[in-house]
């Protein structure tokens, strides 16, 4: 069984995406044997009022019939925008959202902004995860209208060091860290805290090319299959798991990576 913990529907304003609605994503899932996908609406990154995007996703899922069960919807919340507390409640109670995605860079607030801390604590109290990612697209080919965190500049793409302060601020929340594409280095004290935190990382990012080694240092329960679809191709994240040798991951560990860790983390 495969569960994709990092997929999207919606649009990217600067580039046409394929397979970017639930129906076409179901086709993709069926073709490649993926039973469930965590999804959120990309439009929530760009709408000032993110709840409009959450409602869009809810409506789209409703139209899917039984196939709505193939999706685990996550809401997008901007904690510095008015009314987010109401949005959070509506997402869970009405829309059936099972977690939340936040975009500090796109929504222009610091990782230790008190509003974000309040949001993470609220999500924690609901026993739901909150998801961060390193980046959405490769900054080397970004549109000039996109955010200006650009590789090889004084304002580079994020690494784990940029995300870690929120984990330090709310260490007992559940975190997903997605599209891990740059360094995972932390200083010794922070690394110890990070290792204790309830974190699930997906296999879509290129840092996971060394998944065999990461399983040794991070443990077998902190990674799960993810695609970052439809921005990244559908299979590379899967390949990082399936190509592991038995000496790196036996059958039981591969099952954890395919779906077991996701099931446990998301309490499915």
């Amino acid at each position: 069984m495969l569960i994709d913990i990092n997929a999207y529907v919606g649009h990217w304003p600067f580039m046409q995406l394929k397979y970017n609605n639930c129906a076409s994503l179901v086709e993709r899932m069926n073709k490649f044997g993926v039973e469930l996908s965590v999804i959120s609406n990309l439009n929530g990154i760009f709408y000032k009022n993110t709840q409009s995007a959450n409602r869009e996703l809810y409506e789209e899922l409703k139209s899917l019939g039984k196939n709505r069960k193939r999706f685990i919807p996550f809401g997008v919340i901007n904690p510095i925008y008015a009314g987010w507390q109401y949005d959070l409640k509506e997402c869970v109670e009405k829309f059936g959202m099972k977690g939340f995605r936040v975009y500090p860079k796109y929504h222009d607030y610091e990782i230790t902004d008190p509003s974000l801390i309040e949001l993470v604590k609220s999500v924690r109290d609901m026993n739901l995860p909150v998801a961060f990612n390193y980046k959405m697209v490769d900054s080397r080919q970004r549109s000039w209208m996109d955010i200006d965190y650009v590789a090889y500049t004084l304002k580079p793409e994020w690494s784990l060091k940029n995300i870690f302060p929120i984990i330090k601020a709310v260490p007992d929340a559940k975190y997903m860290i997605l599209n891990v594409t740059n360094s995972m280095q932390l200083d010794e004290a922070d690394a110890a805290l990070f290792n204790k935190a309830n974190v699930l990382m997906d296999t879509s990012g290129r840092t996971l090319n060394s998944l065999g080694d990461l399983l040794k240092t991070q443990g077998k329960e902190r990674f799960a299959f993810g695609t970052h679809s439809p921005i990244l191709d559908y299979l590379t994240g899967m390949l990082r798991i399936e190509a592991l040798r038995a000496s790196e991951a036996d059958a039981s560990v591969k099952e954890l990576l395919r779906s077991g860790n996701a099931k446990k983390f998301l309490e499915l």
Partner: protein, 318 residues
């Protein structure tokens, strides 16, 4: 005809839904069918997919890979290759030093020669040079060819590919029926189309327009534009090369954007892509398998396109 009707109907409905992908399917029902029927069909569509069987189904030549000065090289690269069924890797030690003197490029090529002697069944060698040193570069072509190398590896940023300094080098490579492989960026900066950050790029790095210029000057030359997945704007690159049949692209790079391969085939045709990794091995294989190419097209991209050109120079892989 032995077709399971339920599976056939299910796939058909899914196909129709896919065609409607751009139309925001909120509440949409496929015409002529009850919503409940569609719900049943959708839920029955999950197929088994054996990814590693697909990976191993295709013979592969990695047309762009590198070795390093570290002790674990080339074993680390070979290990990835074995994992993913990559039969041959075309390796080079790219000349990432300035000014790139003859002494430097000979030293870099010595590393490659040592590796291909050690692993002749798995590694194909590509040499590097610097056209600013004309005679030394021509001499190096002979030395490296005599040592068994198949052509240039990833030529680097010392001189633009369309600079007149390159003409005698390119003419020699054409005589030898070698694939002319060069590093390139989409633009000399970072940050995408109309880049505004310098990114510390060397000013003589080749860009797509330089490739077009040289490909027009030497229509008999075979040019390999490096790594459409390296972070440059691959849509821009593929559109730029559409009308220049002697420019091929390698698919390598750490960026594995969805639709990159389909877009490249749409614009360049199925014969002008080379599978390559630039050492991002998972992305290299994953992006091709995830594409909508047919099995025959994937076979071309993974192996035949590059090998057919090697054969022209008598260097093909059996």
């Amino acid at each position: 005809m032995n077709i399971d009707r339920r599976k056939f109907v299910g796939r058909s409905v899914a196909g129709v839904a896919g065609m409607l992908a751009g139309s925001h399917l909120k509440g949409m029902v496929v015409p002529g069918r009850r919503k409940e029927e569609q719900e049943d069909d959708f839920s029955s569509g999950l197929q088994q997919y054996d990814l590693m069987k697909e990976v191993m189904k295709y013979r592969k030549i990695d047309a762009h890979a590198h070795i390093y000065w570290t002790k674990d090289s080339p074993e680390t690269q070979l290990n990835y290759g074995r994992r993913l069924g990559i039969e041959k890797q075309v390796i080079s030690r790219y000349l990432d030093v300035m000014p790139g003197t003859p002494e430097q490029f000979r030293k870099f090529n010595d590393l490659t020669i040592k590796a291909i002697k050690q692993y002749p069944g798995q590694l194909l060698g590509g040499f590097v040079l610097n056209p600013a040193y004309k005679q030394e570069s021509l001499d190096e072509i002979k030395r490296c060819t005599d040592a068994g190398m198949i052509g240039p590896g990833e030529l680097y940023y010392q001189v633009k590919i369309n600079d007149p300094k390159y003409y005698p080098i390119i003419e020699k490579l054409i005589d030898l029926k070698m694939i002319i492989h060069s590093h390139a960026e989409c633009q000399l900066g970072v940050g995408g189309y109309r880049m505004k950050y310098n990114g510390h790029k060397e000013p003589n790095t080749s860009i797509p327009e330089d490739f077009v210029d040289i490909a027009k000057r030497y229509p008999e030359g075979i040019f390999q534009f490096a790594h459409i997945g390296m972070g440059g704007d691959w849509e821009y690159e593929c559109k730029m090369f559409r009308d220049y049949p002697n420019i091929y692209v390698d698919t390598s790079g750490s960026n594995n954007a969805e639709n990159m391969i389909d877009f490249a085939v749409e614009h360049l045709g199925e014969d002008r892509l080379f599978f390559a990794s630039d050492n991002s091995y998972y992305q290299g294989v994953g992006k091709i398998l995830a594409s909508n190419l047919t099995e025959a097209q994937k076979k071309k991209v993974f192996f035949d396109n590059y090998n057919n050109l090697l054969k022209k120079g008598g260097r093909g892989v059996d």
